[in-house]
């Protein structure tokens, strides 16, 4: 499973992209987050407030109850700000 982090999630986790092999009981995004947090304080900090974290599975916006499986691409990022200033 490929996990990608953007913006401050990348900075806080110290990781932009990684391949992970979570245990079989990790069935959805929420489970994946819980497992990632168990891997160290940087991940705990990155996922400290899930209200400010959005997720995409295989490049589609989705929710934390979405299932995840081996081979998926899971991306975590803050709410999008768009590009324009005005």
């Amino acid at each position: 499973m490929k996990v990608i982090y953007f913006a401050w999630l990348r900075e806080k986790s110290g990781c932009s992209e990684e391949h992970v092999d979570p245990p079989p009981d990790v069935a959805d995004v929420a489970g994946l987050v819980a497992w990632l947090k168990s891997r160290g304080p940087k991940y705990e900090e990155a996922f400290a407030d899930l209200n400010t974290v959005r997720v995409a599975v295989n490049q589609e916006h989705t929710w934390f109850d979405h299932p995840v499986a081996a081979g998926d691409e899971v991306a975590f990022f803050p709410p999008v700000t768009g590009g324009m200033v005005n």
Partner: protein, 152 residues
Amino acid sequence: MIRVQQEDFDPGVELAGFATGNHAVGGICMFVGVVRHGSGIDIDGAAVGAMTLEHYPGMTERELARIEADANSRWPLEDTLIIHRYGRLVPGDRIVLVATASTHRKAAFEASEFLIDWLKTRAPFWKKEETSDGVRWVAASDADDIAADRWG
């Protein structure tokens, strides 16, 4: 057509090459977004200069294509073009271009405004601003959600 790129674009060149040879086109509407100086006077009063746009390669193109398809389903458009830049940009830099072509002007005007509103809320871009106090990630704006919501 969708283009996500780091380099600048030339609106004149894009306009000259847009929707050419299609005689059903009666009007072209083009919007160019520019990084505004001082647009980032933040809540602490610090002036914002440059900013860096980060995006999600792959997903960005998918989202923009979806937004483009949505516009085409709502208005009778003959052609559309979306160019969005990423990377470090300074005040005065062009950041986004939207062009729409239609038989009658109303569709072109409305669709371009729709595209810009949705670009701000749906496209996976994140903005880091450089202020006199340092750099900071910009939070999503409720005002932009409201602007997009009016399209239903």
